[in-house]
């Protein structure tokens, strides 16, 4: 039987109270949202907080709103809510692509986008999605609020820029015209972490030229956040199969996968190339089909 070590428990009713509780209980206190990463780690003693601050009652962080050219997502928005949102799927198909393959429907009823990003697991799908969408994240502390680009959120595996006495409150995805996006993942079985995955977003000009593009990779050691050489190869070009192949080749070269129970290095590199190619191809198709946002 796996039971976490003893800890104290407090429930926050709003963000200010959560910040107060973090301050009061000090460096060994942790926020708990859906709990599907933290509780398994606590069962195995990989994490051993002295206090858990339960933020599941923070309805103020459960929202999806379109404002000022951005889609604003509250950090406590559950995976299932994102997947149910027609607006999210229409503006950012990549989010629904990823959500459909994150864990399983029952887990998605509990897990949150904020929890996923703050866990900073290198194999986590929404982190790649947020890199690809050039997300901004909003972090609140007792001294006020600050906004960071996604590339500055993760400092390394399981390490983020959210300080111990702060809380991630919001994720913002910029909405731009003539956009398309897609996520492609290979997993060993339904609901597993990625062996490898690739996400891409493309913004085209009126004549179909790739004006801008981002490519992200999951679980294959892409430290730079996005595959910049592959992006450079695509920018300013008209979409073509040769170009997609070249982008895949460059992305695979620039990642650094490790061999583990999910597969050897050459297989993962092969996946990085193939999945990049598929994601960019589909993102271009969607951008060309007049996807708004």
């Amino acid at each position: 039987m796996q039971i976490p070590a003893p800890f104290g428990y407090a429930r926050a009713e709003n963000v200010d109270q959560a910040l107060d509780l973090l301050e009061r209980h000090g460096p060994e206190s942790r926020l708990i949202a859906g709990g599907h990463s933290l509780l398994p780690m606590m069962k195995l003693r990989f994490a051993r907080p002295e206090w858990l601050i339960d933020i599941n009652a923070l309805d103020e962080l459960d929202f999806i709103t379109q404002a000022d050219g951005r889609l604003r997502i509250g950090a406590m928005t559950r995976h299932a809510t994102l997947l149910r949102s027609e607006l999210v799927g229409r503006l950012f198909p990549i989010v629904h692509d990823a959500e459909r393959v994150i864990a399983d429907p029952v887990v998605r009823n509990r897990g949150t986008i904020g929890g996923s990003l703050c866990q900073a697991d290198p194999a986590e799908d929404l982190s790649t999605v947020c890199h690809v969408l050039r997300a901004e994240v909003v972090i609140r502390g007792s001294g006020g609020e600050r906004t960071l680009p996604m590339k500055d959120l993760h400092r390394g595996p399981y390490e983020t820029a959210v300080e111990q006495d702060e809380i991630l409150t919001e994720i913002r995805w910029p909405i731009r015209p003539r956009a398309g996006s897609a996520y492609e993942k290979v997993e060993r079985r339904v609901g597993d972490w990625a062996v490898a995955a690739a996400g891409a977003a493309v913004w085209q000009t009126d004549d179909g030229t790739i004006e801008d593009v981002t490519i992200g990779l999951t679980a294959v050691g892409l430290d730079s956040g996005t595959a910049t050489r592959a992006e450079d190869a695509l920018r300013g070009q008209l979409p073509s199969e040769d170009l997609f192949v070249e982008a895949g080749r460059l992305a695979a070269e620039d990642c650094n996968p490790v061999s583990d129970q999910r597969g050897p290095v050459d297989y993962k590199r092969h996946l990085a190339a193939e999945l990049t190619r598929r994601a960019v191809r589909r993102a271009c198709e969607l951008a060309g089909a007049g996807q708004e946002g």
Partner: protein, 171 residues
């Protein structure tokens, strides 16, 4: 710490350690052992219960996190000895073999039919995709849910006849 929640319509309140998981609260404190406890890692789905009508894996929730909420376990759906259509469906279509995964499968199926009374086969398979049947009896589980969808409970099911026809049970 005091935890108070509604379980199958009745309020329960107990003093527990905060580290008690919901599955153990249900099984060990409330003695409702219909909910099974399996992998402990939110992979197998044996421990699924409904939290405010939505299926959740109770091995990966603290009991404290259900405080103030409504929990429904496999002991809930049958009313006065009348089986819920989902339970009846599992009987009619041989939806269980060893029975280990059954409580979780029943609760997920109940939640699916509550929100989508006529699911497609694909929707049923997607709904139970986070749950493992170690007998690999998925085909009959899907048929059981389809049976339940085709035989919804009467509005006042407590007084109505069971939605059963013996002729549908094969030898």
């Amino acid at each position: 710490m005091q935890v108070t929640m509604t379980v199958n319509g009745a309020e329960v309140s107990h003093d527990i350690e905060p580290r008690v998981l919901l599955v153990h609260f249900i099984r060990d404190v409330l003695a409702l052992t219909g909910t099974h406890w399996g992998c402990d890692t939110s992979n197998c789905g044996l421990c699924v219960v409904l939290l405010d009508g939505e299926p959740v894996k109770s091995c990966t929730m603290l009991a404290m996190m259900a405080d103030g909420h409504a929990v429904r376990t496999v002991e809930g759906p049958a009313q006065d000895g009348t089986l819920d259509p989902v339970q009846q469906g599992f009987m009619e279509e041989h939806g269980l073999q060893c029975g280990f995964c059954t409580p979780g499968m029943l609760m997920t199926s109940r939640a699916l039919l509550d929100s989508n009374p006529n699911p497609s086969e694909q929707e049923i398979r997607e709904a139970i995709s986070g749950q493992i049947c170690r007998c690999t009896g998925y085909a009959t589980i899907v048929r059981s849910v389809q049976w339940a969808a085709a035989h919804p409970a009467e509005p006042d099911s407590a007084d109505s006849d069971q939605p059963v026809t013996d002729s549908e049970v094969s030898a």
